[in-house]
Symmetry: C2
Subunit: 452 residues, 2 copies
């Protein structure tokens, strides 16, 4: 791990060795804290409990304290409506402030993998409690209940709250991470422009909701396609949130590219580093074999078959999803969820020395000469910081663009093509970004095989 | 954590700080070691590679060394056929011997959750490499390839080998864990006796295969239903493997029971302990509220509604799977996978002081007076041991039955009923356990709702 000379103190986790009353009262808008505080078991810890409308038929009448009023159906789910024992928590002195994670498309298959990974502590570590706020639709509400029931039955010690709902203004409340997975699939005969418009409206609405109710420094990862332009729409509708906090997921492409290079070179995949995906999460994307390294050496020095690199490699990365659908009969939910967890971990842990990761991020101010005001996949490094009390090096959720990359004509030509596509997509959604009348001249279908 | 006075050194993991040549030659039957040894990169570490028939069209011609001969298609998959860099591994000095895990029903939804949990290090920890050997059927072989591809694309650093196949004698080779998830679902109009016979034949065959090729101390967890009797059939066909190594999964029932008690008592689920599921994984199972504890107190002292405990609690636990199917439209794959991981973790980590967990295990020698020679869910504690070099307390994969449990008439009556059912199931499969002619007099359908 690289220890950078100038370390800031993490602004993101706000780690505390214990929860003080003063801190509780500061976050006065945070319902769960109020609830915990209200029921903080001082004299009768064992009797402290709280009723919840979802389970009111099951729970004993409260003995010590009453809930602060009737809750809406979506405020909490089942066992997660119950008091978490704050006193015992304080005794461990290790718990940190709960991280609020909102997830859209929460009843879908990608989420079904991702939520259980998050709840098990895989992303934020074994001493970091989390709350999951799940956004579904009217149609998927029962399935959301099923997901919440399975989360109950899993007894994850780190999972302190689960909330389900269909209103983003409720579900995104106080979100510190928003994982926007849900999107409408493309219907039969629908053009990419039509898909951009339908999903763009969803992401415009979700951007407004994040702007209104999420944590002002919320990190947003857009997975629903077309994810780059959806992320652009989302950030344009959330002016209070820093534009650099919005990500479009290209990590699965990066992971697949690393695996294909490993296969070709005959090395295990952990030997491949510095893999950039440039541009759009579409068939114009550019897996960059010029800057990537194998065992620390430039790929072109290790893989002598340059024809394969130029003509087959990119296609192998892009066709992976389609081949998977043929083999497996479903899209790649598990590995997509892994790549979302990877993307989050990359932001909250220090990037290994000399390496980087790819993410679709806001281009304004980029050092590569890429057109500004787009969401474009580029090489990133997390910004390390020191956790205040424990002196542990970690990422703070923020990142910086990598400067020491090289370009050749071949790479630039392909970057220009994916840039042109993203500019065209942007013109298609001008009505959703507040930039006037949309004009759509997308030349071809560039959806990745196996994705909707 | 309880530190027991007499600690043995772990026999299970055989942890080593590094792999010595001498150790490699000892495990001479272990193909992967031979392969690694053969390609151990001494003078030209970067060039060492190995071809694999699956990917021979993709991989460069080998430079330094040749593979030791043509491999069968099922011997390894894709990137997992490639040399793992043993030299770098030695430099870290932290890796342990790879654990071989075989999984049947590997193309199904439960496995789709479980395999990614195992590969991420959730069960065996962040410094424990694993190998996954996946058993499917002719029909599911393509889906198995899809699973292997998604595992490739996930770049799990701990996942050193993936093998797929349809022959248990190949897939169970050297298995140290066998997770038997695959089973035939019940067809329309099929009686439980018919299901017992069809699945019993599968588990008899798999028991023979384990006996022939698995590690002699393999731990076997049977998930496919009817899991208790399947586990009994399996162990009867594997006389070389200790009978106590076979488990029938009742951990999901235990987890659900804990959650329902927490809901009723109005406490978070981490306050419920000492939860036993007695008997069969069927509707005759006995979730034991007499011995269970909430905040360290007997459940009956905390939940005063004893009528609910006697008349509703068990039903709530058992109907959970059925309700989930209604809500979610699928069976509970994610929480089942969590419970399998829980069951494994319980065996390889020390059981917290005073607590226990449930598993369907062999009854011979049990202290409760339950009929011998059955697989019956009972309260277990893992056996702690010290890891040789690192002095870390862990479970060694073995367990002992808990002695300090109490019984009352109500509990005994119900235990007798589930015992009678398991004795009847055993008579149904006498032809598969080598005990003569089967005689089937199962009185009623006791499959749990939501399970096949």
């Amino acid at each position: 791990m690289e220890v950078v000379a100038e370390l800031s103190v993490c602004t993101y986790t706000k780690a505390t060795t214990r929860l003080h009353s003063s801190q509780l009262s500061i976050s006065s808008t945070h319902l769960s804290y109020l609830r915990r505080r209200a029921f903080r078991p001082i004299t009768r810890p064992r009797d402290a409990r709280i009723t919840c409308s979802v389970t009111s038929d099951q729970v004993q009448a409260p003995i010590a304290v009453q809930a602060e009023g009737p809750k809406t159906k979506n405020d909490c789910y089942g066992v997660f409506c119950l008091t978490y024992d704050l006193k015992a928590e304080e005794e461990t002195k290790a718990w940190k402030k709960t991280i609020n994670i909102s997830v859209s498309g929460a009843a879908g298959m990608i989420s079904n993998h991702l939520l259980f990974k998050l709840a098990s502590g895989e992303v934020f570590g074994p001493d970091q409690p989390i709350a999951l706020k799940l956004l579904g639709s009217e149609r998927s509400f029962q399935a959301l209940e099923g997901v919440a029931m399975e989360l109950e039955d899993s007894l994850f010690p780190l999972l302190r709250e689960v909330k389900i709902g269909i209103n983003p203004y409720e579900v995104f409340q106080d979100a510190e991470w928003a994982l926007l997975i849900g999107a409408k699939p493309r219907g039969p005969g629908m053009e990419r422009a039509g898909l951009l418009d339908i999903n763009g409206q969803i992401f415009a609405e979700q951007g407004k909701a994040l702007n209104a109710v999420a944590s002002p420094n919320v990190k947003v990862i857009v997975v629903g396609n077309p994810c780059n332009t959806n992320a652009l729409i989302c950030l344009k509708n959330a002016p209070k949130i820093p534009a650099k906090n919005f990500h479009a997921l290209t990590r699965l492409d990066e992971n697949r590219a690393k695996c294909q290079l490993a296969l070709k070179a005959g090395v295990f995949y952990d030997k491949v580093s510095n893999m950039t995906i440039w541009g759009n999460h579409s068939t114009t994307q550019v897996p960059d074999f010029l800057n990537a390294r194998i065992n620390g050496l430039p790929v072109k020095e290790v893989i002598k078959d340059h024809k394969w690199l130029e003509e087959e490699f990119t296609e192998k990365v892009q066709k992976r999803g389609g081949v998977l659908i043929q083999k497996w009969g479903r899209s790649s939910a598990a590995s997509t969820a892994v790549s979302i967890a990877d993307a989050m971990k990359s932001l909250v842990t220090p990037t290994p020395k000399g390496d980087w990761f790819s993410s679709g991020v806001y281009t304004t101010g980029n050092p590569y000469g890429i057109a500004e005001d787009l969401v474009f996949s580029m090489p990133c490094r997390s910004k390390p910081c020191l956790r205040k009390f424990k002196r542990i090096l970690q990422g703070d959720g923020d990142y910086e663009l990598v400067k020491d990359v090289i370009f050749d004509d071949y790479l630039l030509k392909r970057i220009n093509k994916t840039e042109a596509e993203l500019l065209a997509e942007k013109r298609c959604v001008a009505h959703l970004t507040g930039e006037g009348v949309a004009f759509c001249d997308l030349p071809e279908d560039t959806m990745l095989p196996g994705e909707m």
